[in-house]
Amino acid sequence: MSFDLNLIAESLPLMLMGIGITFKLLIVSGFLGLILAICLLLMRISGRWFLNFPAQVYIYVFRGTPILVQIFIIYYGLPQFEAVRDSIFWPILREPTGCAILALTLNTGAYVSEILRGGVLGVSKGVLEAGSALGMSARQNFIYLTAPIATRLALPAYSNDVISLLKSTALASTITIADMTGIARTIVADTYAPYEIFISLAIVYMIFTFGIQKLFGVIERYLGRYMEREG
């Protein structure tokens, strides 16, 4: 079996044309997913069952089903409802990109809210009691103590989720989106060279993963200054 380096050299630039879409999927759904996650987290820790319970069901459903199935349901399933076609969201849901972003957002939101909750649970009770004893309200305790400490605690797990979100964006290629994976599949269909193309695609993802890891490493060190005895 031969490995055609020329083919890789020719197709890499083509695949890289999909970077824009891959990053759009990653950044938009990463951002919206984080907002959704914070809302779900607040519902989970509100101490009110009528907020906590729906959030729990939501998280259970979205963590319990494959993201590919979620993408299919949104892309193929939703347009069957007239109400969806008549709604203001139709311009978004008509586009495959809109559907992919929606599915990725809903999915990552469920995971990230649990990651954040882990961070919140990791905040020492004594620190919060000290806040209360100083007269701080529950809200002030949350904003000035729980949130910053939990953020730092949740960061390593969160960076993992961003990396898996990057890889999940590849699933968008199944609904006609020309992200890096989508382009690679087209090239493979034309050239019949799956080996070269998919391996170089894999390497590209690995390089991005490396970049994300480095970026979070920097953020972790910055936010975690207080955890080091030196300096």
């Binding site: 020492s124 004594g126 620190v127 000290a130 004893a133 100083l134 701080m136 002030q140 000035y144």
Partner: protein, 250 residues
């Protein structure tokens, strides 16, 4: 005592506290006048922490009345906050805010609770850091300080709120022996200045030299309450005698 301060600063009457079915406090009656220094001791699990945590509502009592500076502790959040503004607390495990520098630890509640300006809050913070003799640590994070230094910061943080009353829950029992004295010194200074204090501690030397009264608790009850000389020389109950023989034997 003079009759001028007839109204005690802290009044607990018939206080009961349950954790589920377990009764942690049984009919606690305690009065502390302004400027009094009380030491509370007793075996582990006797309810010492629970009692002082009821005074600033970190625990909610089930029966009886707790009146602090004329305000009764009820479910009203305003009453709780009013009481907490007057009562400072120091914990066994320091509980500094780990993500803030020392000076920020001292400024936060001043700004949020007392609505004091940043500049003024920093001034007050530095003033109290000097009083506990560690102004040079102001810009470090808590993790960089020794246990004794952290506990002094915790005391300074409580003092920044200008409390009427200070509660100490075993402030030296998490410390290495060589650091205990630096914390006790700060507490003795406070006592000399006339701060009203309730200290849960087994530092009997501190109790002898500083306390106006020593309270012995066992199984959720106040068993004995006496001035230190009387408490140590002539304990009345068997339980106190047993406890003292254990604690003074080492």
């Amino acid at each position: 005592m003079s009759t001028a301060d007839a109204q005690p600063l802290i009044q607990m009457q018939g206080v009961n506290k349950f954790f589920g079915k377990f009764q942690a406090l049984k009919n606690i009656n305690l009065e502390v006048r302004k400027g009094e220094r009380i030491v509370v001791c007793g075996p582990s699990g006797s309810g010492k922490s629970t009692m002082i945590r009821c005074i600033n509502r970190l625990e909610e009592h089930n029966d009886g009345h707790i009146v602090i500076g004329g305000k009764e502790l009820t479910d009203q959040i305003e009453d709780i906050n009013a009481v907490r503004r007057e009562v400072g607390m120091v914990f066994q495990s320091f509980n500094l805010f780990p993500h803030m520098t020392i000076v920020k630890n001292l400024m936060l509640a001043q700004q949020l609770v007392r609505k004091i300006s940043k500049t003024k809050a920093r001034e007050t913070a530095m003033h109290y850091l000097e009083r506990v003799k560690i102004p040079e640590q102001a810009n470090k994070y808590p993790i960089a300080l020794s246990g004794g230094q952290q506990q002094r910061v915790a005391i300074a943080r409580a003092l920044c709120m200008k409390p009427e009353i200070m509660l100490f829950d075993e402030p030296t029992s998490a410390l290495d022996p060589e650091m205990i004295n630096e914390v006790l010194e700060v507490m003795v200074d406070l006592a000399k200045e006339g701060m009203t204090m309730i200290c849960v501690t087994h530092e009997m030397g501190f109790a002898r030299s500083v306390a106006d009264r020593v309270i012995f608790m066992d199984k959720g009850e106040i068993v004995e309450e006496a001035p230190p000389t009387e408490f140590f020389e002539n304990p009345r109950s068997e339980r106190t005698k047993n406890f003292l023989s254990q604690i003074l034997s080492h």
